[in-house]
């Protein structure tokens, strides 16, 4: 826990110890972690398997560009206002999608992402297929931008990882874990399963939206294929499944593995993705808990102790 807070501070202080290139790489890693953790909350805890979170990433990214570029809102303020867009869009999406049974829900989320992408491609307001540039960023110096990106990285991690952790340790989190283990029993214990799922869906949309907006801001350009890139679903699923589903540790491990693998083997292109795909199949067939599942089973260690022990402690710090 202390390590986590130190990490967040280190992220925020990046401009004073890291080069611009490093900051960009760390930013990418932070986006992986954030998106993967949101997917983990959905699939690992709420039982909602989504392959379309890129819908909200793109929506928030576009909202940021429209606010900052078209309406001249300060981009660092715009990025927060932009988060309202995925939040509002998530509500009707969930209303429709929750009617779909288990695996069909997943494909439904993909359709929604496709709809978002196609709508963006057809809207003249968003400059259609050509996309938009965030020229207003040129008004800031490189150092100013580095400071901003670093703070956003820190915030992204604080909100997604810290937020998830806080949520899982809260009253709702306990209910959620009860729900994951046995939805029927949880419902009969007075846990409002439907409302909880809805809340997580919206929260995950906002979390992914922030990651999407930060990523788009760093890229300075946005267009429909990149904003609504299904690659994010692949990345999130790989990270969470290989790292270990239903654990924050798993997401961190998975993200690091993916990030390093991408740096080392990304040059091999297709064959690298074949290996990733086969690994995902392998995990689904033989090692559902992923790496962290195997580690924690063996040594019973937890960096983020979500399970409560019967010993009463007034403070929840480790």
């Amino acid at each position: 826990m202390v390590l986590f807070l130190l990490a967040v501070v280190a992220l925020a202080a990046m401009p004073w110890w890291a080069k611009t290139g490093t900051i960009r790489m760390v930013l990418e890693l932070c986006c992986y972690i954030a998106v993967a953790q949101m997917w983990n909350m959905l699939a690992g805890y709420a039982g909602l398997v989504s392959v379309g979170q890129q819908a909200f990433m793109g929506a928030a990214g576009y909202a940021l560009f429209v606010l900052a570029q078209t309406f001249g809102v300060n981009p660092f303020l715009a990025i927060f206002i932009a988060l309202l867009v995925p939040a509002f869009l998530a509500v009707p999406c969930y209303m429709l999608l929750h009617r779909l049974d288990g695996p069909y829900f997943a494909i439904g989320t993909w359709v929604v992402a496709e709809v978002f992408r196609l709508v963006a491609s057809n809207m003249g307001f968003l400059n259609a297929g050509a996309g938009m540039s965030l020229n207003v960023m040129k008004e800031y110096s490189l150092f100013e931008r580095n400071v901003a990106m670093s703070l956003l990285c820190a915030l992204l991690i604080l909100l997604t990882i810290g937020g998830s952790y806080w949520f899982l340790r809260s009253r709702y989190g306990l209910a959620l874990i009860a729900m994951r283990d046995n939805p029927v029993a949880a419902a009969s214990q007075g846990v409002n399963v439907r409302r909880l799922r809805f809340m997580i869906y919206v929260a995950a949309a906002v979390g992914c939206g922030l990651a999407g907006a930060v990523y788009a801001m760093a890229q300075l350009r946005i267009n429909p294929p990149s904003a609504f890139d299904p690659m994010w679903a692949n990345v999130a699923i790989f990270i969470v499944m290989v790292g270990g589903i239903a654990s924050i540790e798993g997401v961190l491990i998975g993200s690091l593995i993916y990030f390093i693998a991408d740096r080392w083997f990304g040059q091999y292109g297709a064959s690298y993705f074949v290996v990733l795909g086969v690994m995902t199949v392998f995990v689904a067939l033989y090692a559902r808990g992923g790496i962290w599942g195997a580690v924690s089973k063996r040594w019973d260690v937890h960096w983020f102790p979500i399970r409560r022990h019967l010993v009463y402690t007034p403070e929840e710090k480790p």
């Binding site: 039982g47 392959v51 288990g102 494909i107 359709v111 074949v274």
Partner: protein, 285 residues
């Protein structure tokens, strides 16, 4: 006249989608599994078919004769190696396994066949057209629709009238009770997937005859199959067939309004059905 033409084109397009949707409806009905690599399998089979045709100079129907048994074998293998291990109450393992398979297949195809679009030479049938009631329609789309109708009709008959069909329906109603009646669920599952993928053997030939295929196209085919099944309503193969027609017509009409709107119109009709009739047009509540 223009709209009537769009309607006809849409129905013919629906014939193509029906060939994807049947297998998906069958697998979901029996095992509650959605095979995310469904579309990628169509593309894989298409590319194999194209390679066969160019290497041996085979015509499209010879390719079909070779491809369908191959597809059946592929389906059986898929069930034995992957799906039998993930079938169960929890939808996550089967989704993840087939999702991983989809990524692996797509990229494997990319390596073998490169990202280029290819198509199957049809020896002229792709450009022939016939006149029906004052409208010229392509011979190939009519052939596609005919095959789709025959496949739907055949599958429906198999499900209703045969021993295998009864065990399939029994297993989809209650798999434990089915085993109490002596049904070997895994054998039934393997046959269901073999049939589902086998139908894709037909779809692959037609898909690569009527347009081009590239390794990355699988996702779209999966989505169309899925939309058709949901629009039509789960639980009946004719539902999937009609759903495919509705999807095809929506896309064709959308395309007439604006070429960029075609696919989107299909998605919107799907969302509309989900909003006002979530059980699908022909589904039971």
């Amino acid at each position: 006249m223009q709209w009537f033409d769009a309607l006809i084109q849409g129905i013919l397009l629906g014939g193509m989608y029906a060939q994807y949707a049947l297998g998906m409806a069958l697998m979901f009905g029996v095992m509650r599994i959605v095979n995310v690599s469904h579309g990628d399998l169509v593309i894989l089979l298409s590319l194999i078919g194209i390679s066969l045709a160019s290497n041996f100079g085979w015509g499209p129907f010879t390719v079909m004769v070779a491809l369908v048994p191959l597809a059946i074998a592929l389906g059986w293998l898929l069930q034995k190696v992957v799906l039998n291990k993930v079938v169960g109450d929890d939808p996550l393992p089967s989704l993840i396994a087939t999702f991983g398979l989809s990524i692996a297949l797509q990229n494997m195809m990319l390596q073998i066949w490169s990202a280029n679009s290819r198509s199957l030479p049809g020896g002229g049938i792709e450009s022939q057209s016939i006149q029906i009631g004052g409208i010229y329609v392509g011979l190939l789309p009519v052939l596609v629709l005919t095959f789709a109708t025959a496949l739907t009709w055949g599958l429906d008959l198999v499900l209703k009238r045969t021993r295998f069909g009864r065990s399939l329906r029994a297993a989809s109603a209650d798999v434990e009770a089915a085993s109490m009646s002596g049904i070997n669920a895994r054998a039934v599952y393997a046959s269901a997937t073999a049939i589902a993928v086998g139908i894709l053997g037909f779809a692959a030939v037609f898909q690569s005859l009527r347009s081009t295929v590239a390794p990355a196209d699988g996702g779209a085919q999966l989505i169309y199959a899925f939309e058709a099944v949901i629009i039509g309503g789960m639980g009946s193969v004719w539902g999937a067939f009609i759903g495919s027609m509705v999807l095809g017509v929506s896309q064709a009409i959308g395309f007439r309004i604006d070429p960029g709107f075609g696919v989107l119109a299909g998605h919107l009709v799907f969302l509309l059905v989900l909003a006002i009739r979530p059980q699908g047009l022909f589904g039971k509540v």
